[in-house]
């Protein structure tokens, strides 16, 4: 682990506290059907329309493992450089709740499908490796709706039985920036793999956050609190910040931290106790007798390994080595699979350096401004590539290109067509340019004198005049050359 990354310390009196963070991320497996039934998993469907007899726990109904979900979990494990356990067991986690039809959740307790692994974070200060404790598969519960009927709680079982991966990190995170980088990187890896869409608004990615504090330099961990079910990075950061400060205040007042489960209240920006360790549920875990232990052959795992796509870390390495990108540029371009796809499509036919600049510059600015994902970009990779080629071959100047880009944002039109329609093509005929420059020289004899008497800074003035006269269309490189000749 790299040391002294972004320092996140809480200071009280003369003490400095370090914050220890671990995340249990619940990622919804990208799958057409549920973990143990064939019901669909589409988001936003009418309540109770994606429910089978198995999901609603009718008498005599039995779970059957969805092989696709198993493959997704293994692929994710491979993406986390983790050990794939050839034998894993599904357990029942028993508790009563209205939206838990079976009266237990099928989960994996002592024998998860994926063991220890790691994620490399790309931080401004460098890389940091965060340990993964495990990944296990479990069913999601349904949803209780308390505010639709004055008397009754309503239950929607559409989510009941949807496959989740619980990915547990080691307590290796030390700052809010690291939490941000960790969640983003995990999300990115899963999106590259196609194992989770990472859509936090739709609840595809949520986390339980474990927080403890200790005096800087102290060995061993303090008592931790777990903040349940936080569904955005921003809320995770707010919750951690509140919780860490709360714990420090208690310790500074001479108190001790109680191990407990807490809830984050978004409106009040505070965490509240949900239940103490003494009140913790006794889930009475035991192996689900309806499901045999899951045993995987080497071949099954290896076949999946063979089909793992290039992941962000490898891609970044390749971009740096092959395209001579800076680490910073490469990190940005691989951070999201859609961005990397866009980039690779553009550079397939265009200059890498120019493409990098245009994507990380103009395009990102545009997407930011319009609050769009790259997949929603108004300018397709194909047309951006054409625009860059027009710059590269001298058809238009960089400046004109920006105007063309502007027009392209309105309608994703072929830049060539725009140039022709608007007559923006670069003036590159030397004869024409000579005439134009002669005119500039004639019109500015006084400046020519000054220049010739040594005021060489005026060269830029002549270039500017030539561009102005040509309405910006003159090829600046040629203008330079001709001017140099004429002004000798």
């Amino acid at each position: 682990m790299a040391k002294n990354q972004s320092e996140y310390l809480i200071k009280r009196n003369n003490n400095e506290y370090e914050v220890i963070i671990g995340l249990e991320v619940h990622a919804q497996v990208l799958s057409e059907s549920k973990l143990f039934s064939s019901s669909p998993t589409k988001f936003g469907a009418e309540p109770n329309t994606q429910v089978s007899l198995v999901d609603a726990a009718f008498p005599g109904m039995l779970p059957v493992i969805n092989e696709f979900c198993i493959k997704q979990a293994i692929k994710t494990g491979i993406g986390l450089n983790a050990k794939i356990n050839k034998r894993s067991i599904f357990d029942r986690k028993n508790y009563f709740y209205a939206d838990l039809p079976q009266g237990y959740q099928i989960s994996q307790y002592k024998n998860p499908i994926v063991g220890e692994g790691s994620i490399t974070l790309d931080l401004p200060t460098g890389e940091k490796i965060v340990g993964i404790e495990r990944l296990h598969l479990e069913q999601d519960a349904g949803k209780s709706i308390h505010d639709m009927d004055p008397q009754n709680t309503l239950v929607d079982l559409n989510r009941s039985g949807v496959a989740l991966m619980e990915i547990v990190s080691k307590p290796d995170l030390r700052s809010l920036e690291e939490v941000n980088a960790y969640v983003k990187k995990l999300r990115s890896i899963m999106r590259y793999l196609g194992t989770c869409d990472g859509n936090m608004q739709e609840g595809s990615l949520r986390a339980d956050v474990n927080v403890s504090v200790r005096k800087k330099g102290q060995k061993g961990f303090g008592t931790r609190c777990e903040i349940k079910n936080v569904n955005s990075i921003k809320f995770m950061q707010m919750a951690i910040d509140y919780e860490a400060n709360r714990q420090v205040d208690i310790i500074e007042d001479g108190g001790t931290i109680d191990q407990e489960t807490r809830l984050f209240d978004i409106k009040k920006n505070e965490t509240r106790s949900m239940r103490s360790k003494e009140d913790a549920h006794d889930y009475r875990y035991f192996p689900d007798p309806d499901l045999l232990p899951l045993e995987l052959s080497d071949k099954f795992i290896n076949d999946l390994k063979k089909n793992i796509p290039e992941l962000p870390d490898e891609k970044k390495k390749r971009f740096i080595e092959k395209f001579k990108l800076s680490s910073y540029e490469a990190t940005i371009l691989v951070s999201d699979i859609e961005t990397s796809k866009y980039f690779e499509e553009v550079i397939e036919k265009s200059d890498v350096k120019l493409s990098t600049n245009w994507i990380t510059g103009e395009l990102f600015a545009l997407l930011n401004e319009k609050n769009l994902e790259i997949s929603q970009s108004p300018i397709t990779a194909k047309n951006l590539s054409k625009l860059i080629n027009l710059i590269k071959n001298g058809t238009i100047s960089g400046k004109i290109a920006k105007s063309v880009f502007e027009i392209m944002t309105e309608r994703d039109k072929d830049p060539q067509t725009i140039i022709e329609e608007k007559g923006l093509k670069q003036q590159s005929d030397p004869m024409e340019l000579e005439k134009l420059i002669d005119k500039v020289i004639n019109d500015n004899q006084d400046k020519v004198k000054e220049y010739k008497s040594g005021k060489e800074k005026l060269f830029g003035f002549f270039v500017g005049q030539a561009m102005k006269v040509s309405s910006g269309k003159a090829n600046p490189q040629l203008v330079n050359e001709i001017l140099k000749k004429k002004l000798k």
């Binding site: 005599g60 028993n94 009563f96 009266g103 709680t153 499901l291």
Partner: protein
């Protein structure tokens, strides 16, 4: 007409195929007799009208190619039947009408059988006397105020009283074999994984297995053949080659090695049972099979192991009966109160007892001492069988430590009730097949059974041994229709 009910399944099926009798005649005979036998309380839900209609339809448009063409039958009320109430003997499912069919019953209907109705059983199959049913206890046709055994008590009683030609039960710790023994009928608990559990109300998932209950071994072979199938909807279903058990039935057991486990000679075993066991041994010897003394050293731990494993699974399996989705619901001020009232009122005492035992043995701090330990012992019990099966082909024991007892005799003493399963429980723990066949009557005239235990998926072998013994024993049930 009255002799129709005397026919075995195989005889009936042949006569229907030969058009000597119609399905309607058969169905009518059984419906009539069932109507006159309400005192036995075997049925929870009758479906006689539909059965007669179906029989009529069969006769009008017959298909004689199937194994159970036009055969009426009632089934234990633990199998979910589409559009027909399925209660599991419990108030909590007292109004539950499934929209789906269990795989085993589906197999029956696909083979041409016709449903007569749903038979009484201990609540959630938890009991050995059919006294825990919410729908009242069942009379054993063998004698007034005798229990028929349990949990498939209604099935055994209906079969012995000739209210159905064949039936099916489920066996978690002896629930087919013990009532078969108490009523002088044949009951097979197949190898775990042989019959699909899909659509059967679960008691203890790792032990539950459906099986045939019939008047003789031939019927048992045919019915088992129809019931057993590989089913992807049950992850514990095993994809092995099913045989034509009836066709392959063979009464020659010459050269077979049959083990007699010394641990089954329990203290205070009634002399009559020991006598019948010896009679069985002698018959086997006379048939040219070899008797070998064997030891199953962990037999003593089977009952306590069972009463940890089964309640543990049950406590979790029964969590779904919470009043939220289907079945009985009691009113409460809030969710917790609704749960408490629903489950307090919806479950009977024996079910509650087992839920509490199961919850206890799974709770943190006790899990290792009880559940985990029990799983280890279970493995040892299985190892015992694996070991002896290197030397023998099958094992012969009594089915039960006593004959049928009086209604109410053991209801206040759960442990003595549990002891009824002492000879049957180890087989469920090991997942093996075992058949109970009638071996004779005790001094009171009550039937007693012998149990033949086989190797996994070796049902054919124990059916053959049972078939051979059946011929020699020539058992006659003395049922006098006292309830009519």
């Amino acid at each position: 007409m009255s002799d129709i009910i005397e026919l075995t399944l195989v005889e009936l099926a042949n006569k229907i195929k030969k058009k000597e009798i119609s399905s309607k005649e058969v169905t009518t005979a059984y419906v009539d007799r069932s109507e006159k036998s309400k005192k036995l309380n075997t049925y929870i839900t009758e479906d006689f009208e539909n059965a007669l209609k179906k029989a009529d339809n069969f006769d009008k448009n017959p298909n004689y190619e199937k194994k159970l063409s036009g055969i009426p039958m009632a089934v234990k009320d633990l199998f979910c039947t589409k559009n027909l109430r399925t209660t599991a003997g419990s108030k909590i499912l007292g109004n539950f009408i499934p929209t789906y069919e269990s795989t085993v019953t589906e197999n029956l209907w696909n083979a041409g059988a016709i449903l007569l109705g749903k038979l009484n059983c201990d609540e959630f199959a938890m009991g050995s006397s059919n006294e825990t049913s919410f729908f009242g206890n069942v009379q054993n046709p063998v004698g007034e105020d005798l229990v028929p055994g349990g949990s498939s008590g209604g099935s055994a009683s209906a079969l012995a009283a000739k209210l159905t030609p064949i039936t099916i039960g489920t066996d978690t710790g002896g629930s087919i074999r013990q009532p078969a023994s108490f009523t002088g009928t044949v009951g097979l608990k197949p190898t775990y994984g042989s019959c699909s559990r899909y659509g059967i109300v679960a008691f203890a998932s790792s032990l539950d297995q459906a099986g045939p209950m019939t008047r003789d071994v031939k019927d048992c072979s045919l019915l088992f053949e129809v019931m057993s199938s590989y089913d992807y909807k049950d992850s514990t279903s095993v994809d092995f080659k099913r045989r034509n058990y009836l066709n392959d039935l063979n009464n020659s057991i010459k050269g077979k090695k049959i083990g007699i486990p010394k641990e089954y000679r329990v203290d205070d075993m009634p002399k009559e049972i020991e006598g019948l066991w010896q009679k069985g041994i002698d018959i086997i010897k006379e048939s040219g099979a070899e008797i070998i003394d064997i030891s199953l050293p962990n037999t003593n731990y089977a009952l306590p192991t069972y009463y940890i494993v089964a309640p543990a699974e049950a406590s979790s399996n029964l969590a779904r009966y919470d009043g939220v989705k289907y079945g009985f619901r009691s009113k409460g001020e809030n969710l917790i109160e609704m749960y408490e009232k629903t489950r307090s009122e919806g479950f009977g005492n024996e079910v509650k007892r087992r839920i509490m035992i199961g919850t206890y043995v799974l709770s943190s701090g006790y899990y290792d001492a009880y559940y985990l330990k029990a799983q280890k012992v279970r493995k040892l019990i299985k190892n015992d069988f694996d070991e002896v099966y290197k030397k023998v082909d099958a094992i012969l024991t009594p089915s039960t430590p006593s004959s049928a007892f009086k209604i109410g005799e053991k209801t206040n003493d759960p442990v003595s009730m549990y002891l009824n399963d002492i000879f049957t429980v180890p087989i469920n723990l090991a997942g093996l097949p075992a058949i109970s066949i009638p071996a004779g009557l005790d001094s009171k005239g009550y039937p007693l059974g012998l149990q033949i235990i086989g190797k996994a998926f070796d049902e054919q072998n124990i059916l053959n041994i049972a078939y051979s013994m059946e011929e020699q024993i020539d058992f006659k049930n003395e049922i006098k229709d006292w309830w009519m």
